[in-house]
């Protein structure tokens, strides 16, 4: 029970009036950062990093500084869901999967419910992850060391196979859409040889297509264009505007305990490995859809379809801090910036941090508990406020959304070209929706394409071209097998049905 003692000590460090005030400031800032697409958690933390520099030099200041920064991170994790649900615009990459059911819920006038479910499950995911960090960090850190390129590839493959199932859309449209995503992901610098590809000499294409620009266009702008066909009104105007909706949602949530557990597990695994919060949210959504009795209705506005990705994203986002602290490997872009922060303050993340900087580490862990509670309080009390945004008339809110989208697209790379691409993706999103080309596989392919290809080719370099490397040990072998089974499963059930003559 050493951990409990250390944790109690951590709470004593973290629980000062100043630190609690910083937590709330951080969470509010984070929510704002999360809401504005483009201004992601990594950016937000990086921008505020210099502020903490003076702070960290006071006694006990490093703890305060990391509390502020990590609370910005929690806030951003919470905030990403807000615009996903209200406007179908994911504020952060990991909240793309939240749009799949969150937005339909909002359209049905159940925005408050969707928000409450999203925030609560985010909290649950984070809480599970913090418990894992508290009690299992040494074991888990060792586990993360087992992951080399072949293992990473198998994890990405698993994400992909878990998400892609038999969809209602025509199969060749799904395939075309997915491959378009992979093609877009390949544009820019080849990660393994450094050669430029598919840039056709254009300097704008050097940076490739950023996932966020594509998503803002495809989902956000595309959705506004679709909504326009129906006339100038948002459908969410009947959203409930009081806090009762939170209580009602809480009554309903325990039904999804199994989904929550599964999603937390997926999230923790992906965070520690570190595979990242975005793949975690997709994987979790895919798994939930496959195993839920209401799986067919996913995508039409199921609370469970909000619970699954949000729990996993937050669990992954939180547990991603573990490899950062213990190994110095950031599990997410934001963790990378936090890592830079630690180095600037004079702390050296790594195996010895737990021993040499006990106060700091346990203060940080305690602040993860407290920061998430602070975050939950902030966002839940704001649910009616967020839902009220839907009552703003379309001709006012639509241009404001477009402006936010443009700012978001611009800030990704500080490039006007991206604003143009956003408009193009918007038209694409509109066309694809109308012609039944599914958007989700496209988006997932953009997210995973790059990473999957790099780890595949790294693995190939290591094995000198032997594909059998993906079955070379128990760990990688079992993940790969699991992925292939998941991929084949719909085909098997379909074949069985065919044979039986259904």
């Amino acid at each position: 029970m050493d951990e409990l003692q250390s944790l109690a000590h951590g709470f004593a460090v973290a629980l000062s009036l100043k630190n609690i005030a910083l937590m709330f400031v951080g969470v509010v800032l984070g929510v704002i950062i999360g809401v504005l697409p483009g201004l992601g958690g990594a950016n937000g933390v990086a921008i505020l990093l210099p502020l903490t520099f003076g702070m960290a030099q006071l006694p006990g200041g490093t703890t305060s500084a990391i509390i502020l920064l990590s609370c910005i991170y929690w806030g951003a994790l919470f905030g990403g869901a807000i615009t996903s649900i209200l406007f179908n615009i994911p504020g952060e990459p990991w909240s793309v999967a939240t749009t799949f059911d969150g937005y339909p819920l909002a359209q049905k006038g159940r925005a408050g419910e969707a928000l409450a479910a999203a925030f609560t499950s985010s909290f649950v995911g984070a809480f599970v992850a913090v418990i894992v960090i508290t009690f299992l960090s040494p074991v888990v850190a060792k586990f993360a060391l087992e992951f080399g390129p072949p293992e990473f590839f198998s994890v990405y493959l698993l994400t992909f196979c878990a998400f892609i199932g038999m969809s209602k859309e025509p199969p060749f449209k799904t395939l075309a859409s997915m491959m378009l995503g992979f093609a877009l992901a390949a544009v820019g610098t080849d990660p393994v040889t450094g050669t430029l590809r598919l840039t056709f000499g254009s300097m704008h294409l050097l940076t490739g297509f950023d996932f966020l620009v594509a998503v803002i266009g495809l989902f956000g702008i595309g959705e506004i264009l679709l909504t326009l066909e129906e006339g100038l009104a948002f459908k969410g105007t009947s959203a409930k505007l009081n806090l009762k909706v939170v209580i009602e949602t809480w009554k309903e949530l325990p039904k999804y305990w199994l989904t929550s557990i599964r999603s937390s597990a997926v999230g923790c695994f992906m965070g520690i490995v570190p595979g990242g919060a975005t793949p975690a949210s997709f994987m979790s959504y895919g798994v939930a859809r496959r195993f839920s009795p209401d799986g067919d209705k996913f995508g039409t506005g199921m609370v469970e379809g909000v619970v699954a990705p949000e729990t996993a994203a937050h669990a992954a986002g939180t547990s991603a801090l573990l490899p950062m602290i213990t190994l110095g490997v950031p599990g997410s872009p934001t963790a990378a910036v936090l890592l830079g922060g630690l180095l600037i303050w004079g702390l050296q993340p790594g195996p010895l941090l737990f021993i040499e900087q006990k106060d700091f580490v346990w203060g940080l862990i305690a602040s993860m508990y407290l920061g998430n509670i602070a975050g939950l309080i902030v966002v839940l009390t704001c649910v009616p406020l967020f839902a009220a945004i839907l009552r703003v008339p379309f001709s006012v809110i639509a241009p404001v959304i477009l402006v936010i989208c443009a700012i978001g697209a611009y800030t990704v790379h500080n490039a006007m070209f991206d604003v143009w691409m956003m408009v193009v993706f918007g038209v694409l999103g509109y066309l694809f929706k109308k012609l039944q080309y599914p958007l989700a596989p496209l988006v997932l392919a953009i997210v995973l394409g790059d990473r999957a290809e790099s780890s595949f080719r790294q693995a190939m370099l290591m094995s000198q071209g032997e594909v059998s490397v993906f079955f070379s040990n128990t760990l990688v072998g079992s993940i790969t097998t699991l992925a292939l089974v998941l991929l084949a499963w719909p085909l098997v059930t379909w074949a069985v049905k065919r044979v039986r003559g259904d």
Binding site: I32, L39, N43, G44, I47, L48, P170, F172, K173, L175, A176, M179, L180, F182, A183, A186, D190, V192, T193, T195, R197, L198, F200, I221, I224, L225, L228, E229, G231, L232, P393, F394, S395, V396, P399, V400, L402, V403, A406, I407, Y410, T411, N414, M416, V419, W420, V423, G426, Y430, L431, K434, L435, E453, F456, R457, A459, M460, L461, Q464, G465
Partner: protein
């Protein structure tokens, strides 16, 4: 014909399907072409730069052809309107200003462009009173200016007005 001019399809589903499939094919071909140029073989130490994009492009082309065939074989009775004239007008009434807005950001800066865009939208589509239009349009830009330039210190594109006011 009992359809009003606004309900008439602007163009059919069939032509939309065919158009998109052709665009996919062209894109796939482009990807294949550039990948082949870079080398798309399986070398001794694994795939070359263009290996994956080459096959991705190829699959895009194949699926585009299949989608094209599906589109061409679409029966006339299923070829309902892809978008009605009235709908298309509404969509374009936002898309065209949005495109102009995106272009204007480079010239006059994001803040002025945003204020004008919001103003145009509210006045033209929402028929709001001028003072409300001005309030929301300018208020929005001031808010974002304070957040980005002041708070987060992220420079967004600015134009002649900001230069005049000495704000950049």
């Amino acid at each position: 014909m009992s359809q009003g001019p606004q309900d008439r399809p602007a163009f059919g589903l069939k032509s939309a399907e065919i158009g998109v499939a052709l665009a996919f094919f062209a894109l796939g071909a482009l990807v294949v072409y550039d990948s082949a140029r870079l080398g798309a073989k399986w070398a001794e130490d694994g795939p070359q730069t263009g290996y994956f994009p080459f096959y991705i492009g190829l699959i895009i082309c194949v699926s585009a052809v299949l989608n094209l065939v599906r589109g061409l074989r679409m029966r006339p009775e299923r070829d309902i309107g892809f978008v009605e004239v009235g709908q298309l007008k509404l969509v374009l009434s936002v898309l065209i200003p949005a495109a102009i807005y995106a272009a204007a950001i480079g010239w006059i800066g994001i803040y002025v462009a945003s204020a004008l865009f919001i103003g145009f939208f509210m006045r033209w589509l929402g028929k709001y009173a001028w003072w409300k239009v001005a309030l929301v349009g300018i208020g929005n830009s001031v808010f974002f200016f304070l957040v980005f330039e002041g708070w987060f210190r992220i420079p967004l594109p600015k134009g002649p007005l900001e230069a005049l006011l000495g704000l950049n």
